[in-house]
């Protein structure tokens, strides 16, 4: 049954149609060449004035051209149809994974609210419940942000507000904000900043990038696996590596990981939540900062390194040079 279904895959249908056209064309040319003399004789009997010798080749060429146009037409229709089918598939995957992502924290919040409504809870218990609800609300907010950023407008036209930021301080603040998540996953974070650098950033957008990268590292790593965030200062750029010891990525996934709605599909990752948006949005945000984002992994099970490369603040460099000059 599966094999039969595979036969109706668009690509097979397309190849079948194309083969049929080519065979038809070959048969027609063959038939025409074999019978051209007879056709000529027959036509000359009816309208001898219309048929000159050189016209026969013209008709053959016209026929071939017509066939080629039809072939091209079928190809264009196929390309667009395939594109549409891919979009439909992506959309339904997206709706299914996003609804799951939204429902899980919502279910937790509802459970705690109803627990406080129906059960007698002590002050300590109620405080603990509120804390957990707050974490779930943060998770919901971050997901909703991701969805809005990806669908509301083109990331290239994002209205960003750049300001000069000390990267080290900013990263420490981001890590501090995710403290609860690190504790829950029993994850030890190492921040390796040998030399701080000043960057022009939209802090709200860049926080989203770092949150996405750290969130992914936590979700795709076993509980207790450490995470290293390393800052490297270059001449023109500053690079931030997020080094995890999680599931790692295969060659195919490395190529596609930044695509919109793309999610790694294997046995280990099938039950991990995600909408396939975080990395796509992050890359777009980094791009609007005139930076780059890349990923490397030695393979599945060997962890991965996500690198964000951002240009250093030129003014700050000039400032430093000026200060040196003054000295």
């Amino acid at each position: 049954m599966r094999k039969l279904k595979a036969l109706f895959h668009p690509i097979f249908i397309f190849i079948g149609v194309q083969v049929a056209w080519i065979v038809l064309m070959a048969v027609w040319i063959n038939w025409y060449l074999k019978n051209s003399r007879k056709i000529q004789e027959f036509a000359q009997k009816i309208r001898p004035d219309l048929f000159a010798d050189e016209l026969n080749w013209l008709i053959l060429l016209e026929g071939c051209l017509l066939m080629l146009i039809i072939l091209a037409g079928v190809y264009i229709i196929f390309v667009y149809w395939n594109k549409q089918a891919r979009l439909n598939r992506l959309q339904s995957n997206f709706v299914s994974s996003v609804s799951h992502e939204l429902k899980s924290p919502l279910a937790s919040i509802q459970l705690y609210l109803e627990t406080m409504k129906y059960q007698k809870v002590s002050k300590e218990e109620s405080d603990e419940f509120v804390e957990m609800m707050l974490t779930d609300t943060e998770r919901l907010a971050s997901l909703i942000n991701n969805i809005l950023e990806s669908s509301k407008y083109d990331p290239k036209n994002m209205q960003l507000q750049f300001q000069s930021v000390q990267l080290g301080t900013f990263l420490r603040e981001v890590v501090e904000g995710l403290k609860r998540q690190f504790e829950e996953r029993n994850c030890e974070v190492k921040l390796e900043i040998t030399e701080d650098c000043e960057l022009m950033l939209d802090t709200r957008a860049m926080q989203m990038v770092f949150n996405n990268l750290i969130g992914n590292a936590l979700r795709y790593s076993p509980i207790g696996a450490p995470l290293t965030i390393r800052v490297r200062k270059g001449k023109k750029y500053c690079e931030i590596d997020f080094i995890d010891q999680g599931m790692g990525l295969g060659k195919k996934d490395l190529k596609k990981i930044f695509r919109k709605f793309y999610r790694v599909t294997n046995k280990k990752s099938q039950n991990i939540e995600g909408a396939g948006l975080g990395l796509f949005i992050s890359k777009e945000i980094v791009r609007t900062h005139k930076g780059q984002m890349r990923v490397s992994s030695e393979g599945p099970g060997k962890g991965s390194v996500f690198t964000v490369q951002l240009p250093r603040d030129k003014n700050s460099k000039r400032q430093t040079a000026a200060n040196r000059g003054e000295e």
């Binding site: 279910a107 937790s108 509802q110 459970l111 705690y112 218990e125 419940f129 957990m132 039950n271």
Partner: protein, 234 residues
């Protein structure tokens, strides 16, 4: 006093697992939490439980796989599936994999507790032998309620929990009319969302197993406008 019922909660969302544990313990149940599918199966091997509350999306091994794994060795152990997937198709997949009941997230706490209570009550009823014995014979056929195995017209096969429960209710009330509402209440535990047609579908399936001519049933007879009646000599 009765010993507390033991429930295994399989949920990877730590907040949800904690909340479920808190509420179930308040209701007097003993609760163990497993964070992933493999841990759940390990727990099942090491301890005895009365019920499993199973999330569908789990790391290491998904909920569907866990349910199928359990059903390989135990066709009767009660499983309540909990999932963010709420379409009819998802529900059907969950029930086909062996869940007794399916609750979509987000859920209402009182409803969850009611369903847990209902499943455990039905489980208690189902565990009792039928007419004082585990195996019930009728004609050349038999049903073993302890293992879920049965011998029908075309040979031996395994009954699902719900099929076995329908047969059990019909057989315990042998010779009497059992209404569709009775069947829904006892076997499914609640009548909201369920239609009496569900019962008719189950009866049709059971007739295929146990009747030589399902159109002219000899054992599971329809009593017009009332319900069904089980007739047998033994």
């Amino acid at each position: 006093m009765d010993q507390a019922k033991k429930i295994l909660v399989v949920e990877d969302e730590s907040h949800l697992a904690k909340g479920l544990k808190f509420n179930l313990e308040r209701e007097g149940y003993e609760v163990v939490v497993a964070g992933d599918g493999k841990a759940a199966l390990e727990c099942m091997r090491e301890h005895t439980f009365d019920l499993m509350i199973l999330d569908l999306m789990l790391p290491r091994m998904g909920g569907i796989e866990v349910a199928k794994n359990i059903r390989k060795n135990d066709t009767r152990f009660p499983i309540l599936m909990l999932s963010a997937k709420s379409t009819e198709e998802d529900r059907a997949t969950g029930l086909e994999a062996g869940a007794d009941d399916y609750l979509a997230k987000p859920f209402h706490l009182p409803e969850l507790l009611l369903r847990v209570k209902g499943i455990l009550r039905r489980w208690d009823w189902y565990k009792q032998p039928v007419l004082g014995q585990d195996i019930f014979h009728f004609g050349k056929m038999w049903i073993n309620f302890a293992t879920g195995k049965a011998n029908g017209w075309s040979g031996e096969f395994l009954l699902t929990v719900k099929e076995a429960q329908v047969m059990k209710l019909l057989i315990t009330k042998k010779g009497q009319v059992v209404t569709r509402e009775d069947l829904l209440k006892t076997v499914w535990g609640y009548d909201r969302e369920m239609e009496t047609r569900t019962v008719d579908n189950f009866i049709a399936r059971l007739r295929k197993h146990f009747e030589k001519k399902p159109q002219k049933p000899q054992y599971i007879v329809t009593v017009r406008e009332k319900g069904y009646q089980f007739n047998a000599d033994s």
